[in-house]
């Protein structure tokens, strides 16, 4: 089967969705499918939103690439039609990200060669351009929306329109699948998950490697090291994490590592993380081996965000053998389950109490992390993801000609 993915961004751009697209593309290519990805020639967060962004700092990508049997075509973004987008906003359509004429053209050419067009995200121009290409080429579509319930950027008429036009929708959790069907009127939903190969994390989790990293970071014996992974944007509820860390630091010194690309918002909000006893380790997006070393050296992974389409960072923490704390909402609660601790979203006191419980009961914390690692092998492996994706492709092809 020939599959064309149309996605706004693709690795080396970082993110849970980007990792999922790459994992699916590589795993399906390994099973003999022809796989092509049409994406934007954009890696940095800044370049995704700002057409006057500075030149690439650490990664630049070209117009075509081939990795592990996947052909990747990267398209230049076009000038942003601000007036048209503003007009669309009056009609209730709010799209984020860049428009690309080249992406429409390349997607159209690729769709003609494809059996299925797989669209990614639901509130970005690339998804709508991909749908247009698929319709012009008369090809069935599968959509993975990475839906964030409760987020107004997702809960809008344009997204509903797109969800109902895709032949099959892939949800990354049973919770997302159920709500898309019940509340958004999506007719064909296939439930899948995200996945992670734990093998590269094993070496980082060795006790001596962990001790070395903690020493390098200057983390004293008995000083808890908390870690957050993700884009430093307000949607991740970082102020709640800052307030919770300050509460913990009022009792004993705490080190908090925030790892991920900065945003304009964060540059202004960074000062809010200053508190007596709290040491902030502020890092940009770092290479994967460095990230693995840091997570394995931490005591707890904390993800304060109330909206996640999945929460890949929980799998990363389990692979490194550390316990997790996440918000008690929808998909996050489903993913974390009994392999972590949940807190009331937006409640810094409850988050601090959840972390404190794990720090005070290391045996219990280790047991939850072990449950998470066991779950990685059973539920969050690429084999199961690809089975679900292939089912979605078969369903979509069966839906042709409707």
């Amino acid at each position: 089967m020939n599959v064309v993915h149309v996605a706004q961004r693709y690795p080396p751009a970082i993110g849970g969705a980007e990792t999922w697209i790459e994992g699916v593309a590589r795993a399906t290519a390994a099973r003999g499918h022809g796989v092509e990805v049409i994406t934007l020639r954009v890696v940095d967060e800044a370049a995704l939103w700002d057409e006057d962004a500075p030149p690439a700092r650490e990664v630049a990508v070209g117009p075509v690439d081939r990795v592990d049997g996947v052909r990747i075509v990267r398209c230049r973004p076009s000038a942003t039609p601000y007036a048209l987008l503003r007009l669309a906003e009056w009609g209730g359509v709010r799209l984020g990200g860049r428009v690309s004429t080249e992406l429409l053209g390349r997607a159209l050419a690729a769709a003609r060669r494809a059996d299925v067009v797989h669209l990614h995200h639901c509130n970005v121009p690339a998804a709508f351009l991909g749908l247009a290409a698929a319709r012009l080429a008369r090809r069935p579509t599968v959509l993975t929306p990475y839906f964030h319930f409760g987020d107004p950027r997702f809960e809008q008429p344009a997204v509903r329109w797109l969800l109902r036009r895709a032949d099959v929708v892939i949800a990354l959790s049973a919770h997302e699948a159920r709500r898309l069907a019940d509340e958004w009127g999506v007719r064909r939903v296939v439930a899948s998950t995200n996945a992670l190969d734990p093998a590269p994390w094993t070496a980082a989790a060795a006790p001596e490697a962990r001790a070395q990293v903690r020493a390098r970071l200057g983390v004293a014996a008995g000083e808890p090291l908390l870690v957050f992974l993700g884009r430093k944007v307000p949607e991740k509820d970082l102020p709640v994490l800052g307030a919770a860390a300050a509460r913990l630091a009022a009792r004993r010194p705490v080190a908090l590592a925030l790892v991920g690309p900065e945003s304009e918002w964060y540059r202004g909000a960074r000062g809010a993380f200053a508190a007596p006893g709290l040491r902030l380790i502020d890092l940009p997006g770092i290479p994967e081996p460095a990230k693995r070393a840091l997570v394995a050296a931490a005591d707890v992974l904390v993800q304060p965000s109330p909206h996640e389409s999945f929460g890949l960072v929980f799998l990363e923490a389990w692979a490194a053998g550390i316990p997790v704390v996440g918000a008690a909402t929808g998909t996050i609660a489903e993913v974390v389950g009994d392999a972590g601790t949940l807190f009331r979203p937006g409640d810094a006191a409850d988050l601090a109490a959840a972390v404190e419980r794990l720090l005070a009961h290391p045996a219990e914390a280790a047991a939850t992390a072990a449950r998470g690692r066991a779950r990685l092998a059973q539920a969050y492996c690429w084999t199961r993801v690809v089975e679900a994706v292939e089912r979605a492709y078969r369903l979509a092809r069966g839906a042709e000609g409707r």
């Binding site: 080396p12 500075p54 030149p55 690439a56 700092r57 650490e58 990664v59 630049a60 990508v61 070209g62 117009p63 075509v64 690439d65 081939r66 990795v67 052909r71 990747i72 075509v73 076009s78 000038a79 039609p81 601000y82 007036a83 048209l84 007009l87 004429t101 080249e102 429409l104 053209g105 390349r106 159209l108 050419a109 980082a204 070395q212 990293v213 390098r216 970071l217 380790i281 502020d282 890092l283 940009p284 997006g285 770092i286 290479p287 081996p289 460095a290 693995r292 070393a293 840091l294």
Partner: protein, 162 residues
Amino acid sequence: MTAALRRQWRRAAWLARDVGRSGRAVAHALALARRPAPDVALGVLEGAPWAVRGRENAYLLRLVNDGTAARRLRLAVGGTAPGAPPLATAATFDVPARSAREVHLVTDWVARFALADARPLTDPAAFLTVPPGVPTSCRVDARLADAASPGGRLTIVQPLVA
């Protein structure tokens, strides 16, 4: 003309410009649908979040041959950094059809500037502590000699710490 009228006129002009651009964009997209992507390109030029002068810094380059026949590609890489002489290296690589070849650039941003097949071993924890001081910047320019497309050339401007 009142300020409100002038504002409305400006908005209408922007809208007209966007509508005009959209029309041209559709024509452009249809033309691109018939034109293939470049056969030969640099797929990626990737460094670390920052480089350190005097230490081994590694960069990944992927040479892509998307065509139907094997190609011999000449890669030329140049580097500039404050206080260092212009650095440059070049080599030729055979790349089979419909595949990519990974090459690594290794430099200390002082004198060494060489291409290698294998990625040098680096300390994963090196990027967990941001070096003190105000960084300058270094620039890596990579070019595939026989690729006429814009993707035959990639550049990054990376923070460089002493």
